[in-house]
Symmetry: C2
Subunit: 342 residues, 2 copies
């Protein structure tokens, strides 16, 4: 069978408590004993049972990361790897492991609570604001259990990290304005959807800052996919007074917009400019390449990890929140309209 602390103790002719102390490098153990015991551990190829350690130490050394498989989350999906690596990069060095858990959509609150939290399987929880709900938050806080949300969460007092969608909207819109575009549409996103609201607020803000009126018909809500981007842009461009640029909710919408302009023979850039949220999955690879808003997804994960670790160390910490800044990547789709040329 497996070699245990007992076996080492016997072989080294010491008590197992001594072995344990060697394991934890206790200062009250003599140098010689330590070396002797360690040598024996090496010889016998001993590795302490992490389960037993955890039981005794009452810590699982484990962080839970919640995902929702059913959501087919096109949004999370491509970013997930980077986020996860970001988390791991900060918790790994602290010898925490990362456990992925799938939430059951039918009974999200109770199941996760029992399976992961109450059972002591994890020491802290990272989730996102679409999985999180008030019930979970209440249970978690009642238990004093450390957790962090990726994505803003307002209805309760929870710690979260997010990147600044509002600033992002302002950056994209502001960039278009600075390039000389003057009548900018916004395509994609459902009214009421948090992330859309934020982004659109930035779009509005940029208009205000430029003392430009905000025309309601310039915003076309809908699912953020290629089809919606295509149809909406087509309609906009065929209207009496077409916009000269558009801010898109994501790459797919932008691709649809691109297609619409192309179909109508409208040159990009030139008569029409396109800027989009997300640099992923293909904004550098369209024709022309798309000006986009890059999210440091790794940083998002790393920050969530750091915040969680802080809260594990001190569960009484008041909940704070953090906004990361996105980065504007300028490409050809929003190049300056040269004067006198069209």
């Amino acid at each position: 069978m497996k070699v245990t602390i007992q076996d080492i103790a016997k072989a080294a002719n010491v008590a197992k408590s001594t072995v344990s102390k060697v394991l934890n490098d206790s200062p009250k153990i003599s140098r010689e004993t330590k070396e002797r015991v360690r040598e024996i551990m090496r010889q016998m190829n001993y590795t302490p049972s992490s389960i037993a350690t955890r039981l005794a130490k009452r810590s699982s050394r484990n962080i839970g990361l919640l995902i929702d498989m059913t959501h087919e989350s096109e949004y999370m999906n491509p970013f997930f790897y980077n986020i996860m690596v970001g988390i791991e990069s900060v918790i790994g060095p602290q010898t925490y492991e990362l456990t992925i858990a799938n939430v059951q959509p039918n009974d999200p609150e109770r199941d996760i609570m029992n399976r992961l939290v109450r059972s002591g399987r994890i020491d802290g929880l990272i989730t996102n604001n679409v999985i999180l709900n008030d019930g979970m938050v209440d249970s978690l806080t009642e238990l004093g259990f450390p957790f962090v949300s990726m994505g803003e969460y307002e209805s309760r007092n929870v710690p979260w990290v997010d990147y600044d969608n509002e600033a992002g909207g302002a950056m994209l819109t502001g960039h278009l304005l600075a390039q000389g575009y003057a009548d900018i549409a916004f395509v994609g996103g459902e009214s009421g959807e948090k992330i859309y609201e934020k982004r659109h607020r930035g779009y509005a803000e940029a208009h205000r800052k430029a003392s430009l009126p905000l025309r309601g018909e310039r915003t076309v809500n809908g699912v953020a996919d290629e089809n919606h981007g295509y149809r909406s842009t087509l309609e906009l461009l065929q209207s009496d007074r077409p916009p000269d640029a558009v801010v898109c909710m994501n790459n797919y919408v932008a691709f649809g917009a691109l297609k619409a302009a192309e179909q109508l023979g409208i040159p990009i850039p030139g008569r029409f400019g396109i800027a989009t949220f997300d640099d992923f999955p293909f904004s550098p690879y369209t024709n022309p390449p798309l000006t986009s808003l890059f999210i440091h997804t790794f940083e998002l994960g790393a920050t969530a990890g750091r915040m969680l670790l802080e809260r594990i160390d001190d569960p009484a910490l008041p909940s704070s929140s953090l906004l990361l800044q996105p980065e504007l990547i300028v490409r050809r789709s929003t190049e300056r309209i040269e004067a006198g040329r069209e």
Copy 2:
């Protein structure tokens, strides 16, 4: 403090072993007792400690999934989420958890072995063939520890799942031939690279099957990125006798090829056809959309999970391997060259 099995026993006026049996739904406990105890557990909001359970049962109910953060694995990256969800979809229902572990590149073998395997933190391991090495394989098999490789692994007797790269190469090439293309290049991939060799073998095989000669200069090795795709295709197309189609190692290479043809004013499809491995991240979103080879990444993960679970149930199982078939997705980039039109 937390409520334990002891507290329940006391409250229910039974022995804790009885509670334990209720927990495990033992048939030797009377219906009434079960219900009474369960009611009390509910009232006291009891959840068994998974750590204690695991220690007693000597099973961690945990599967390890290895990643290599440093590899910046552009390859794994986009597929990772699907693979992970695939794994989770089969191990989750069996109440296994998924633990992500980052392998340390400097000391990959020993560290993982101790930290995860010997420590009993996981019951089984899923890794891929770039992380796996003979040393790990030997240690793992010596311990009789269940593991599965995603990606073919030949130098030892290990169980693996992979998708059929060779068949994929033959499918893409065969499709081009069937469409009427007759002189097909292959761009991207380093000689010696496993996955490249497989794919190229399929390419060669399709030629053989069509009784077509295989010209060495039609294969242009190199890193599989846009730049290489662009330069290679440019050169090919500018040669005395240009090919009329190309098979690309991935979307980035294909995008470079697209750009080269476009720059030379060569219509696609028409005078030139492009087919590429991978449907991700953007083959539907180029102009024209790319004919591509779709990998069921979810299935890959799910299969790995199933294989691993089988081996956990029966560690003596002889190691088997499995090839999944990719799927050809035909798009405009390889449309038929209409006779008399160019």
